[in-house]
Amino acid sequence: MIKELFIRNLDIIFLLYGAAFFCMGVAILSKRPSKESAFKLAEPIWLLAAFGIIHGINEWFELVMLIKGYTSTAWNISAALILTLSYIVLFIFGLRLCALHTNKSLNKLILPFISLIVILLIFISDQPASIWPRYFLGLPAGVLCAFGFYLYYRDNKKILKLLKSRRYFLTAAIACGVYSILGGLITPKANFYPACIFNYIVFFNFFGIPVQLLRAVCAIILSWAVYNILAIFTWESISHFKSALEEVTSAKNYINNILKSISDTLIVIDPSSKIKFINNAGCQILGYQPEEIIGKPATKLFKKGTLLKNKILRNLIKKESLNNYEIDCITKGKVKVPMLFSGSIMKNKNGGINGIVAIGTDLRNLKNLQEKLISAEKFAVMGKVSGIIGHELRNQLAVMRNAAYYIKMKLTGKPDTEEKIIKNLNALDNEIKEADQLIDNILTFSKTKLPDLKPVDLKKILLRNIEKIVCLKETVLTTEIDKFIPEILADELQISRVFINIILNALEAMGNVGALAIIMKVSDNNNYITIRFEDSGPGIKDGDKEKIFEPFFSTKEKGTGLGLATSKLIIEAHGGSISAENNAVKGAAIIVKLPVKLH
């Protein structure tokens, strides 16, 4: 009953049998394990795939023969040849698999020799054609594969155990072993040993199931095992990918760290002159957030026209790099920052310009230091020189003045003394006094030391000094002071001198008749305190606006020209600035700017 069922459905068994091997072949090929894989199995496994596909086709070929009832010798020989081919491939696979363990390859002539004999026998012998490939190729190939899988597992025990592939290898080995017997030993009936005993009919009668069914089961089990073995390649490629990804990530982090820890500004500009990258230090110096500035034109960082002027870009492109170029940058808060830039052109593979990499050093500290050094030196030299000159001149002036006085004493009261002589002596005395006054001013100017900085209230200092100044009735002095003026670091005595100098100058300029308005307020984003002294005098000639702060420049008849020069010296030593301009309506204004915080 069951036997009959099997016999009738032998075509389905062939179909499944063929499909199992065919699928195995396709599965292996679709996986295409890389030849560079650390698993050496990857190299010969394509042979197993080839076997699967060829053998699958062989089964289907026999299926067609069965259904259509083709039983001619030609059909039988064709089927046997396909079978032979499939077993040759499996044989090679088995050999190669074992060779992975022994590291020795079998004599290369053996297989062609056996194959030749098998093919000859197929054509010559009158026994069923499939017997020969089964005995001489199928059986040894199956055994080789069984050993091959087992040995491969033994050689790679550690890693395969870890990957939980142990049972698949063992299953594959057993399936191959069983298959070698079922496929290689159980053959069609023939009239010689062992085919006369171990054949399909005897098998069927003994077990009650056709050998093809068991072969199909073997094929399915083998396919399942191989399919699972393939997972080791998936795992490998994933782990490769992971480690590659890790490598890339760590390289990226490394570079990012380097860029981040550079304390200089690093800017990358693309060919369309937009900012492509700017590092943290650059953002900090320039006051931008990265997202505010990346993608914006690079010219935004500089004063208009700076890059065009001096042909900076053209030179850079021509020479490919430019070193130590001083350029002023403009921060977000519109503050000028002197920077020392070095840049170079990035080129792409084809030699085209890919962008510009520029590194800039903030020169503010250096410049401040330089200025401080220069002014300290200036102070020291001026002090020394004018000290010597002052002392020497005063001694000589003292002798002259005494001499004039003596002569005058001698002549006074004598009846024959000419009035002119006395007049001349008086003139001499007056000039000496003037000269002495000049020395006094020079000494004040030169003795101006570096400021002794302490927190001070500019408002109080100004008001206190205004009180000291005696104004004529014709002068109107007004003040306009912001409610909140922050304390700043300054030298009170020096700042007082500046205020008095400027106020006295202004009063003198308008002949002590007119109005003087003093306006003090916080300016420049709370970074500076600006004090404006506006008089209603004649104003300053355009060409004199800079000159009035130079030493010994005076528009007054009797002035040493040191008052404003001393003021400038003091204000600059405080990190501030002093300038002059004419008011819109009438008179001149002196503008003093003092930083709230020293840089």
Binding site: H391, R394, A398, V399, M400, Y405
Partner: protein
């Protein structure tokens, strides 16, 4: 009966010493000159001066050091320091001290002569009171 007050002039500038003494002699004072601190000290030991007019900056011992020694020799001596520089500190010190005055070069002779007369007058007023020796600046 006018007493001829003795005045010592100390300055390394000989010309200044000379014409200063010319003027003061003309005003009736008895003048001695010294061109440095050492000679000033020698002179001090020989004569009883009322006033010493002395430069601060001098080679050898400067005016300020000389001053201390002169004071040891004659505690009652009045000293006028003449200097090309005059620092605020000296001025403050000399303001209410009859024994020490500071005058800046070039000297305004009218007020200088007045200063000398003033010192001598105060000395005269305090002279009868033999002790204490320290003169009193107030009139």
């Amino acid at each position: 009966m006018r007493i001829k007050h003795k005045i010592l002039i100390v300055d390394d500038n000989e010309e200044l010493c000379q014409n200063l003494s010319d003027i003061l002699e003309l005003k009736g004072y008895e003048i001695s000159k010294a061109y440095d601190g050492y000679h000033a000290i020698e002179n001090m030991k020989l004569k009883n001066f009322s006033v010493v007019i002395m430069d601060i900056k001098m080679p050898g011992i400067n005016g300020l050091d000389t001053l201390k020694i002169l004071k040891q020799i004659n505690p009652r001596i009045s000293i006028i320091l003449i200097t090309a520089f005059a620092d605020d500190i000296f001025y403050k010190e000399s303001k209410n001290n009859i024994d020490l005055k500071i005058v800046q070069k070039p000297i305004d002779m009218d007020s200088f002569l007045f200063l000398i007369e003033d010192i001598l007058r105060q000395k005269k007023e305090t002279l009868p009171q033999s002790a204490p020796l320290k003169p009193n600046g107030e009139k």
